[in-house]
């Protein structure tokens, strides 16, 4: 094993040939022999010893990665066409290209850990156990949406599996995330919170305020910067004097991770969770990329070249990476993978059809959930005799 490991540790491999395999046992999907894969690039640490590049995975895990990421990719692309046909209105921020972060994160944690993110939340909702139908219904403003149609694209939540949204104002979710971690520490749950934000939000003051408090109080929070290099139309080097976001925590350690490599993300998140439970906050910077523009109203090509986008798609696409891993490890054949993709496509199409059928919210829903019921008192409208809003 050691000899094999030595064989693996060639540092400067071109990106395309980074997968070297160790297969100690004959592979068979039912036997679940572990596969050890080296991440594309080593982790870079700031004030911390980075974890090993070698990640353990199993064939079924790889297949599930492939399936889930394809589902997310398909979902976002379908949302694109729904938006263009005006079934989805308002803002729609798509996550395709960044799937590895959502999937890798989910693979490293439990549903008891909390995740909070900004508005690019469709795929994280899916990863946390949300259904396609709920997502599309919410996007189309229907009553069977995850927020009953009242939230929209930027307000997906799933309380029972620890997904706290879904926030429109840039950076505002980070103090919330630290608050979640505070509650976890208060109730001694032994779980952590992941507060996701982008490279644009990394320049928000409230982030540093919250980080300071979290470090002071040793809160089990992990700040994850999904660095897709563009804050809407502004490139990171034009917005941040120091675009090394993992170092921005100063006294808080950080780790830079290749966010297009799902196994690297998984390794880093696992490492971060263990660290945070012992020592308090840590920052993870996920080097990732979004293929779409910032949102559906942004073509995404005025501030970057098409060559750049296609370049990343060819070199670093997360789904292709897993596909190559699966094929070279003979976990499945190319046609089986194609079948999975077809299945996924069908599932997404079915979900869209179902969501389209779903009715719009009832007008009375305008007034529900403004207040939660408290003390058994009813909240009245203007005249107490005429109850304008009957609280559920």
């Amino acid at each position: 094993m050691a000899a094999a490991a030595r064989r693996l540790s060639a540092a400067s491999l071109p990106l395309r040939h980074h997968h070297l395999l160790l297969r100690p046992f004959a592979s068979s999907a039912s036997g679940q022999p572990p596969i050890a894969v080296e991440t594309s690039v080593p982790f870079t640490g700031h004030k911390i010893e980075p974890p090993s590049r070698l990640v353990d995975t199993t064939p079924s895990e790889l297949l599930s990665f492939f399936r889930d990421m394809s589902m997310m990719r398909r979902m976002e692309i379908a949302a694109d066409s729904l938006y263009k046909s005006k079934l989805i209105r308002g803002f729609c921020h798509l996550y395709d290209g960044q799937e590895a972060v959502a999937i890798g994160l989910e693979a490293a944690i439990t549903k008891k850990d909390a995740i909070i993110t900004a508005y690019r939340d469709h795929c994280i909702f899916l990863a946390r156990g949300g259904s396609l139908v709920e997502s599309y219904a919410e996007l189309m403003g229907r009553r069977s949406g995850c927020s009953k149609g009242k939230g929209g694209s930027m307000h997906f939540y799933k309380k029972d599996s620890g997904f706290f949204g879904g926030h429109g104002i840039v950076g505002a979710q980070v103090p919330l995330g630290c608050g979640l971690a505070f509650a976890q520490k208060y109730t001694k749950e032994g779980t952590v919170s992941f507060a996701l934000y982008g490279d644009g939000a990394a320049n928000q003051g409230q982030l540093f305020e919250a980080l300071n408090i979290s470090a002071l109080w040793d809160l089990p929070v992990i700040l994850v910067c999904e660095n897709n290099h563009y804050g809407m139309g502004t490139a990171e080097w034009r917005a941040a004097k120091s675009p090394a976001y993992y170092k921005r925590g100063d006294y808080v350690p950080g780790l830079k991770v290749d966010g297009m490599d799902v196994l690297a993300v998984k390794q880093a998140c696992k490492f971060a969770k263990e660290y945070a439970l012992q020592n308090g906050p840590i920052i993870l910077e996920m080097d990732t990329y979004r293929y779409h523009g910032h949102s559906m109203s942004d073509p995404g090509s005025t501030y970057r070249t098409r060559d750049e986008i296609t370049g990343v798609r060819q070199e670093r696409d997360p789904i292709e990476r897993i596909r190559k891993l699966i094929l070279s490890n003979e976990v499945a054949t190319a046609s089986e993978l194609k079948d999975i993709e077809k299945e996924v496509r069908k599932e997404v199409d079915d979900a869209i059809a179902q969501a389209k059928e779903s009715p719009m919210p009832d007008p009375s829903e305008l007034f529900t959930n403004v207040y939660a019921k408290g003390l058994g008192a009813e909240v009245f409208g203007a005249d107490r005799k005429e109850v304008k809003a009957v609280l559920p």
């Binding site: 927020s147 509650a183 408090i213 058994g376 005249d383």
Partner: protein, 405 residues
């Protein structure tokens, strides 16, 4: 009013009439922790009906909207002795009782812990409950308010203190978007049982930035409830109600009212967040006020009574939503309304209240609604100028005289 208190005495004296179990408060799914002391409360008009109602409302909690005193300074209930304390101590008592009762309640703010609170509201709590429940935060309102909201999303009940309400302007985004709206945008998944409290209002020459009245800024945030306390009695009751409420509540205290001394009941009591308080029943004119202006009004009332007027004074207490039931009944009786507030003229609580009364009770008005508010200027430092910024009793007297012509 005295009759109401007599009934209260009667109720507590005859236990067979009221099953003590039915006075349980806090009807949320969480089980009650801590004591279930006898809680007695009486409706503002002396009715004791509440809990006999078989409606969906549990009816167990009846809330007392009656001021325990007339315009005199102290007079406790005829039967029970009670204990005397200052307003900030009443707030602390309420907070302490709630922290004892529910381990999910925690306090966050600047200098609330080791220092004891800049207005001593949280004095002694840190030594009693420890650093995890009484948290000293750095000077970062935006983020610690956000953290309080995040903690509330999971079920904790934080009480966030702004050292001065004006500082909470830095947390406006968190209060507006996350605190007020999260329950709605998540389709009801998350409740935000947070209490945001702090002193505001014009003090003694504190300067413009420390004399702000944020109730006018927060009033249109949907999903938020706002209450303003004015006496030790209602301070304690509102604090407890705010903590127990499942909604985000902003509790407005006033810098100059912290040292008001009053005798409050020994028994546990909780007030209704949405109810207004009848301070002095009358016939000629309805004066609506809240917080510190209540005292200016009561001072003016002394003069008015001598001049032969009989004003009805209502402390609206609930700034959002307005208790239009109590207010409406009063308007229907007197047909004249004077609003006395400390907010600025533009966009203040008074202007919303005026609009609400006009919308609902236009036919009952015999005269235009008068609204006395502070001037639309930053509060100056100089004492004389500051006096002219805020409504003074003499102006109230003049306004009533004009209204009642």
């Amino acid at each position: 009013m005295a009759a109401a208190l007599q009934t209260a005495a009667l109720l507590s004296a005859s236990p067979n009439l009221i099953d003590p179990q039915r006075f349980r408060v806090g009807l949320s799914a969480r089980s009650l922790i801590g004591r279930r002391g006898s809680i007695f409360v009486v409706r503002s008009d002396g009715r004791t009906s509440g809990f006999f109602n078989a409606k969906s409302r549990s009816g167990n909690l009846i809330t007392n909207a009656v001021a325990t005193k007339a315009d005199a300074s102290t007079s406790s209930t005829a039967s029970k002795p009670g204990h005397e304390l200052l307003l900030f101590e009443a707030l602390r008592e309420g907070l302490e009782e709630e922290m004892d009762r529910d381990p999910h309640v925690c306090v966050m703010g600047e200098d609330v812990g080791h220092y004891g609170g800049s207005y001593k509201v949280t004095k002694g709590l840190a030594t009693k409950y420890g650093d995890l429940r009484v948290l000293d935060t750095p000077i970062a309102e935006n983020s610690f308010t956000g953290m309080g909201i995040g903690a509330a999303m999971t079920g904790l009940r934080p009480v966030v203190e702004g050292m001065n309400m004006g500082f909470l302007l830095l947390a406006f985004n968190q209060i507006s978007n996350n605190c007020g709206m999260l329950h709605y945008t998540s389709g009801g998944q998350f409740k935000i049982p947070i209490v945001i409290r702090g002193p505001g209002g014009v003090g003694r020459q504190l300067g413009a930035e420390h004399s702000q009245r944020l109730e006018s800024y927060f009033q249109s945030i949907p999903g938020l409830q706002m209450v303003a306390c004015s006496t030790a009695y209602n301070a304690k009751g509102l604090m407890k109600a705010a903590i127990r409420s499942e909604n985000p509540v902003v509790l407005f205290e006033h810098v100059l009212l912290y040292n008001l001394k009053e005798r409050i009941p020994d028994e546990e009591y909780v007030l209704c967040l949405e109810e207004a308080e009848m301070v002095r029943p009358g016939e000629h004119v309805t004066i609506l006020t809240y917080s510190r202006m209540r005292y200016h009004v009561m001072q003016a009332v002394k003069t008015l009574v001598n001049k032969g007027y009989d004003p009805e004074v209502i402390d609206i207490r609930s700034l959002k939503p307005f208790d239009l039931y109590t207010i409406g009944n009063s308007v229907k009786k007197t047909h004249r309304v004077l609003i006395v507030e400390e907010c600025m003229r533009t966009g203040g609580i008074g202007s919303s209240l005026r609009a609400a009364i006009i919308d609902n009770f236009w036919d009952y008005l015999d005269a235009p609604i008068m609204c006395l508010s502070s001037q639309d200027v930053p509060t100056p430092y100089a004492g004389t100028l500051e006096e002219w910024t805020v409504v003074q009793p003499a102006q109230i007297v003049a306004a009533v005289e004009q209204l009642c012509q």
